[in-house]
């Protein structure tokens, strides 16, 4: 065991200099000089042909995401599209950005690590209702409370798609799935209530079949400095066809936007609004500017580094260890 071991075995990519690019800084301004910006086109964002069933609501979400990226034009390489596991979670393959298809239910902590370590990125997460509210429910709550900077779209079809029709936490009472062939008996979870109670700082609701509305929600979500969640109804034509007909004027339904006089800064009011009978309201239920985890951790780094005013990492380590001689 030699004290030189670290250096001897240095990783080929390691860098002698101390200008560590890994330095974590607080959320940086995302603006980049205009000349650097090649305008992103939709075709550059297109990737593999989606393998979703024809008619699946998820196509609509994908189209809006690509359209929004084209419009908002962030640097291509700074977009990261993340997902869990589910039909909806195949999303990253269908858009040409850095993409990760992580584990069922665990993508929010993955995104948390990425967001805190790399506050310079635009992080978008796409997950299903099973992923977000069943196996991943706890992470959603804690991400909301910690206000980690990212935009999350829950593509809620009120059923497990990929595993072929089991009851999901948002399946309504009476829904006949393969695990409840006699009709589900358990009251569905209300995602908006859950998110508001958890302290989410941006909570919106939309539906994949209303592209303009969804576009507006996603843009606002992207602009939000913090944890933004869009609960987006997205029909599974295979296992729950017609689930959202009641939101569709052309199918005899009603698309009610959040009333203009709703105070989006009042969480109890947002909670009450979320009580409305199905299909409920659509729009932004709640928004609040709050310190993000990225900011508070960034501030911690700045303050800590001030203590050793700019010493090289090796000097700082030496000084820390000297306390133990």
């Amino acid at each position: 065991m030699s004290e030189n071991l670290g250096k001897q075995r240095a990783y080929p990519m390691s860098n002698e200099s101390n200008d560590s690019e890994t330095t974590i800084t607080a959320a940086t301004e995302r603006e980049v000089p205009e000349e650097r910006r090649h305008r992103l086109t939709k075709s550059e964002l297109r990737a593999d042909r989606p393998t979703w069933c024809a008619g699946c609501g998820d196509y609509g979400v994908l189209a809006i995401y690509q359209k929004m990226l084209e419009k908002r034009n962030p640097p291509h390489e700074e977009i990261v599209t993340l997902s869990g596991i589910g039909c909806s979670s195949r999303f990253p393959y269908f858009v040409n950005t850095y993409g990760v298809h992580y584990l069922h239910g665990r993508v929010l902590p993955f995104a948390t690590g990425l967001s805190v370590a790399r506050p310079d990125l635009n992080i978008f997460v796409f997950v299903g209702d099973g992923d977000a509210y069943s196996i991943g429910g706890n992470h959603l709550e804690h991400c909301a409370r910690k206000n980690v900077r990212m935009t999350v779209v829950v593509m809620d079809n009120e059923v497990y798609g990929l595993t072929k029709k089991q009851t999901s936490p948002t399946s309504p009472i009476g829904f006949k799935s393969k695990t409840d062939p006699w009709g589900s008996q358990i009251p569905p979870l209300n995602p908006i209530k859950k998110l508001i109670a958890a302290g989410a700082t941006f909570v919106a609701r939309s539906v994949a079949s209303s592209p303009n509305h969804l576009m507006s929600m996603m843009e606002q979500g992207m602009d939000h400095n913090g944890f933004a969640v869009i609960e987006c109804l997205s029909e599974c034509v295979q296992f729950y066809p017609g689930a959202f007909d009641d939101t569709h004027p052309r199918r005899g339904g009603k698309f009610s936007e959040v009333p203009a006089d709703h105070d989006i800064g009042d969480d109890a009011a947002a909670y009450r609004l979320a009580e409305a009978d199905p299909p409920g309201y659509f729009g932004v239920f709640y928004r609040e500017e709050k310190t993000t985890l990225n900011e508070s951790e960034g501030e911690r780094v700045r303050q800590s580094q001030r203590r050793f005013d700019g010493g090289r990492d090796s000097e700082v380590l030496e000084r820390l260890m000297e306390r133990l001689t």
């Binding site: 990783y11 596991i85 298809h101 804690h142 001689t325």
Partner: protein, 621 residues
């Protein structure tokens, strides 16, 4: 067992040194209640010895409940290499009658007993028979006298520290500065009281004892030493390894490394997050690693189980990641504050699918530092998760070792985010190199990372040949690493009768056992493994040269008469001569337990040092 008196010797003839005998080493055990600050006096004494150029190793027990209870702290210090916290004590300090009753047997014959005369009544006759010197000290009373009633509990241990510093002839100035540093944050009056207690203890007259416990000047005099626990060394090693992101959830005995990283990583521009659970911790670390920031997560037993699914992802997606497990007694919640080495199989095999990963284990606190650097290096060179298996004994014991030179060993791993023409993350013929988001790819095709089987571009593939090739590739990385590892060195002759193999925190006791056995067995070798998966090359050849192979482990002797490493070595070498020496008492091995077991070999079945009579045979009721 350190032999205090038998190894007394004259001072090395320096003119300035006062006359009298000198000790090469001494084992001191302090027994009381955890509320008495046993731990804190032990730590300061260890650091004082370190500052006095001594080698040090400590050992302590922690009561299982938060409200405290009986506790011991043992310090082994000396001027040669100190390999273990010591079996029996040369000097025993007891605060209470229960401490006396319980720990007197661990004081060697001819040793020294110090006791608080306000609480303990020793059996003088018994002591005499065993040749034990004893001295009653009115510790409680004298402390009250010195610092007043209110500071009583706090002062007692500092008083004792002063007394012991004097006994061992340590420097009062060094002791003062340690005490000052320890209490500085609590304000001037606390410091003042503490110094009062320290000096009162120092001034206590030791009579004839005063010249008997002087330690030799150290061989390593002048070498700058640090004195710290394995968990502290690990935290610094993680920083030196280049880790700049960590995430974890509290669990004993991992927690204090995590607390230190949370506080100190920001000094290096890094962050450590306390997450909602272990599933989130490892996922956050994988997320940061994907982002190009060197990342780690850490836990103890139960948390490693919870990591399994995500480890399987890191294997599949070939994400470099350091995963620390500070082992404790298991299974399940087990014995949270005791030592055991029973997470090895989980570390090697605990994830679904073919999930090859690297597993390493440090043998002492110093190695927690350097091996963490090597572990991260391997994680990046082979792009895979590395499990670092520490244990409760290493984590909590204090050792002194040469101050590392960060300017020479610090590792910086920086993700290169310069634009590239294109990127193929998973080439079949070379090791995976990830490119972090933020890196512009000029062909405009951005790669995916997925838990699904995938092709060389990271795109999902169910192609049968692709799955075969990728599965092979993930395995081959271990073959490649194994081929690059050196054949491990045998401590002792290259062939002979007995080879004693070990891993982790037992290194010191095993080396002592090897030394001890040399006196009556010809050809005794020791082999301590740091790389557990893949195992280093050459083991079959080494084993071939010894008649009996003993694998010493703190886990159960299992079905083949050996423990978890023993079984892995059977698999590796097909050597049927492997026998286990196993202990599952939640306590570290004593040297004599190993020596006795080898001198009186039993059937392979009974590999545990103490086989319970009741379970020798088990029946349906």
């Amino acid at each position: 067992m350190s032999q205090l008196s038998s190894q007394m010797q004259e001072g090395p003839g320096e003119v300035a040194s006062p006359p009298g005998k000198r000790l090469e080493e001494a084992v001191l055990r302090i027994a009381g209640n955890s509320q008495d600050g046993i731990q804190s006096i032990g730590v300061m004494l260890a650091r004082l010895a370190g500052r006095s150029d001594m080698e040090v190793m400590t050992y302590m027990t922690i009561p299982a409940t938060i409200s405290g209870g009986a506790s011991i702290f043992q310090v082994h210090m000396g001027t040669g290499e100190i390999l273990s916290p010591g079996d029996d004590a040369d000097i025993l300090v007891v605060f209470y009658q229960h401490s006396y009753d319980r720990h007197l047997p661990s004081l060697r014959d001819g040793g020294l007993l110090l006791y608080d005369s306000s609480h303990v009544e020793p059996d003088n006759e018994g002591l005499q028979t065993r040749g034990i010197k004893s001295m009653g000290l009115p510790i409680t009373e004298l402390t009250i006298e010195t610092v007043g009633g209110s500071g009583k509990q706090k002062g007692k241990n500092i008083y004792l520290l002063g007394l012991l510093a004097n006994l061992f002839h340590f420097d009062l100035g060094k002791a003062r500065s340690l005490v000052e540093a320890r209490f500085r944050k609590q304000g001037d009056s606390v410091v003042r009281n503490a110094l009062l207690a320290l000096e009162a203890g120092w001034a206590y007259s030791l009579g004839e004892l005063s010249s008997e416990y002087r330690l030799c000047p150290a061989e390593t005099r002048g070498v700058n030493k640090v004195t710290m626990t394995g968990n502290q060394a690990l935290a610094y090693g993680i920083i030196a390894a280049g880790v700049r992101f960590g995430a974890g959830y509290p669990i004993t005995p991992w927690t204090d490394t995590m607390e230190q990283l949370r506080q100190e990583l920001p000094f290096f521009g890094g962050t450590f997050l306390q997450t909602e659970d272990e599933l989130a911790a490892i996922s956050a670390a994988i997320g940061a690693a994907y982002g190009g920031v060197v990342a780690m997560t850490g836990t103890s037993g139960p948390g490693l189980s919870l990591y399994s699914e995500a480890i399987s992802f890191a294997v599949m997606a070939e994400i470099p990641l350091l995963i620390v497990d500070v082992q404790r007694g298991g299974p399940s919640t087990g014995l949270p504050t005791n030592v055991e080495q029973s997470d090895l199989e989980l570390a090697c095999y605990g994830a679904h699918g073919d999930s090859p990963r690297v597993v390493m284990a440090p043998a002492r606190a110093e190695e927690c530092f350097y091996l963490a650097i090597e572990a991260v290096d391997i994680a990046y060179r082979y792009s895979l998760p590395v499990v670092f298996l520490s244990d409760q004994a290493i984590a909590t014991r204090i050792e002194s070792f040469k101050m590392p030179k960060p300017d020479r060993c610090m590792q910086l791993i920086v993700s290169d985010r310069k634009p590239r023409p294109y990127h193929k993350p998973y080439p079949l013929d070379s090791v995976t190199r990830h490119v972090a988001p933020g890196t512009r790819l000029e062909d405009g095709a951005y790669p995916h990372v997925t838990g699904l089987e995938h092709d060389e571009y990271g795109y999902p593939s169910v192609n049968p040949e692709m799955h075969t090739a990728m599965t092979r590739k993930r395995h081959k990385k271990l073959d490649l690493l194994a081929s690059e590892l050196p054949v491990p060195e045998v401590d002792g002759p290259m062939e002979g009768e007995i080879l004693i193999v070990g891993w982790g925190s037992t290194e010191g006791v095993i080396r002592k056992a090897v030394d001890r056995l040399r006196s009556d067995v010809s050809g005794v070798g020791g082999l301590h493994l740091r790389h557990l998966s893949p195992l280093p090359p050459g083991l079959t050849e080494i084993f071939d040269r010894f008649e009996r192979i003993y694998v010493v482990e703190m886990n159960d002797g299992g079905r083949y008469g050996c423990g978890q490493l023993g079984r892995m070595l059977r698999m590796e070498t097909c050597c049927p001569r492997i026998q286990g020496i196993n202990k599952t008492e939640g306590l570290s091995f004593r040297v004599d337990e190993i020596v006795d077991r080898i001198r009186e070999p039993r059937g392979a079945e009974a590999s545990n040092v103490r086989e319970s009579r009741q379970t020798a045979s088990l029946s349906h009721e």
